[in-house]
């Protein structure tokens, strides 16, 4: 008989077909879909997170497990009646590369890592003007916005975004986290950002910390 332990293990191993099979079996046995999500998938991703920190799982392997979770959620979500799934997950983050900067890879890795950790991520892409960040905060009501810059000359745009949020009376409603190769803690402090992370892995930890999560 399928068990949550088996589901977790196969999720960690990236065995998509087996995970889907186990979920079907658990549903057929009358298990609660929400319980399957929490005890099987979320706990499995928690193991993935621990293994990544311990250096036992590499980024592509972590992302594969996260991809499997996303696919399985498409099956489970309609069955979890009467609850908004965003409350089951870590929180919502809007992320983008600031105006004038077209580099995406670092920001996309962060987005994937946040999703793997259970955050809902709205990725605005690159070269995003301040107004678009403001609009996204209005529409999506994220807890955190993440600003990325790879080019030194575009770092000042991060300050512009913070100013735009302030002018729209949204500054107090959202936490601003910044990152990117030339960005430093000192710079983050100087522009009034709420958080800074030097790489993708620590971004997840910082985001959880900002949300008051372990």
């Amino acid at each position: 008989m399928a068990s949550y332990k088996e589901l977790q293990q196969n999720l960690v191993l990236g065995q998509e077909n087996k995970v889907e099979e186990l979920i079907s079996s658990l549903l057929d046995s009358g298990n609660n879909p929400r319980e399957i999500m929490e005890e099987g998938l979320m706990r499995g991703m928690s193991v993935v997170g621990q293994k990544m920190k311990a250096g036992e799982m590499f980024l592509p392997e972590v992302l594969l497990s996260a991809q499997i979770v996303r696919k399985c959620m498409e099956v489970l979500q309609p069955l979890i009646v009467g609850e908004t799934l965003s409350t089951a997950l870590a929180g919502k983050v809007v992320i983008g590369t600031v105006q004038g900067d077209v580099h995406s890879i670092g920001k996309d890795i962060v987005a994937l890592m946040l999703q793997s950790a259970g955050f809902t991520v709205v990725n605005l892409g690159a070269d995003v003007p301040p107004e678009k960040f403001v609009q996204a905060v209005h529409q999506e009501q994220p807890y955190i916005i993440g600003l990325s810059a790879l080019v030194t000359t575009t770092m000042p745009r991060m300050r512009d975004v913070i100013e735009a949020l302030r002018r729209s009376n949204l500054r107090e409603k959202v936490r601003v986290m910044v990152g990117g190769a030339p960005v430093t803690q000192g710079f983050a402090d100087s522009i009034g950002a709420d958080g800074y992370a030097p790489d993708a892995i620590s971004t997840v930890d910082k985001a959880k910390q900002m949300m008051g999560q372990p």
């Binding site: 980024l59 077209v102 580099h103 890879i105 030194t152 000359t153 000192g186």
Partner: protein
Amino acid sequence: MVEDLSLKLLTRDEVSTIHDKCLYFLSSKGVKVDHPQALKTLDKAGAQVNFDDRQVRFPRDVIETALRSVPHSFTLAGNNIIPHPSGMFYMVSGTGARTCLEPGSKSYHNVTLADAREWVQLLEALDEVAICASPFPTDMPTETADIHALKVLFENTSKHIMVAPYSSESIEYLFELALVMAGSTKALKKKSIVTFCSCALTPLQFQTYNMEIIIQSCRYGQPIAACSLPAAGGTSPITIAGTVLLSAVEILAILVMSQMIEPGTPVIGSPLLFTLDMLTGRSSNSSVGTCLGDAAAVQFIREAFHIPTQTYGFGTDSHIPDGQSTIEETLMSHLVAMAGCDIFAGTGHIGTSSCISPVKLIFDTMVARMLKRVISGVKVDDDTLAWKEIFDTVPGGHFLERPHTLQHCREELRTELFVSQPIEVWSSEGSKDLYARTVDKYRELKKKLQPQQLPEDVQKEMDLIIKRANERLAK
């Protein structure tokens, strides 16, 4: 003596395969070019341009014409012929570092204009460094920092300069400074004083300002460093060969575009490879795989495109000059030297090119001297075989007082900062390790640093250009 001490990572067939794939890719799929004027120019010159999605394909005959017109050799300021006539290499410091590791400490500070000035004077003082580039002066307006940096370069070195502009807006001022230094457009075209770096936005895109760099470099006849900076596993395939191929496509695209705009413009093929650490997501430019990729890319470009090459020769991912940085730079520099690289980038840089270190700079020059000695090989002739010396030797005798020994006693390299005393002497002098001895060397050099003496009118003109740039661009 073996004349060509080289390392071939790719077979002839493999070079041919990669070459064919480059041609096929550029002719059938092409690259994206974000510069309306450049699109029109390329279209007129024979490229197949889709103005809606800005995708540009280059017919094979256009590519082959470009490969015939691009110079295989040219001379940089300081009378440095590239490729080096004796098969040696040139060193260049890196562009864009924002922090500096203070010699003798583990403290970092943001690079200032004063740091950039001292750095360039140090580069000028070190004979091994042939090409100078500046770190990013963080105390200058972000919008004009590259312009300030180029002025500092001109004021403090007579060597060839390498610049990576940061925006479309600063390019005109950078060329204005170069024109002032050269004296006229004609003089600038005659003499390569600055190489401008044009970087692909990997994968396979060319932004407005990087196209503008190509256009203006062509206009003024200055060499273009055709740079591709793929990160394996991120912006390029995870495999070394795949990253080499992608990098080659991008470099070939820049080469072809430059020749379509102005045939004969010098181009330096610059694969500057990175690897995304699959555990942390951090970029590395010094892992073993990356170094192999750099060497393979250099070999490919030399054999397929026949243009000078540049890649990382002295990088390290370590944040301090330590055992890791020594191992990395030794492995990297030897691999790319054996592959025949002409210009070694990353000199004096640590932390994956994000930070400058005067101590590392001096280390790098030492490794460079050792490497050049290796490359020059073992000469075998009547004199060096010392046949007569050996034949005439009395069993149990010695060679120390022989004329032959006297004649040759200064020829072999002595590495100045390495220990050559017995332990008792070394201990009595403070038991200093290499790092500490190099800090002492830096402090000695620092006392003798000085700027260039520029004519007053040139200095005045450059000051005016800076003033105008700040007024128009700085926010």
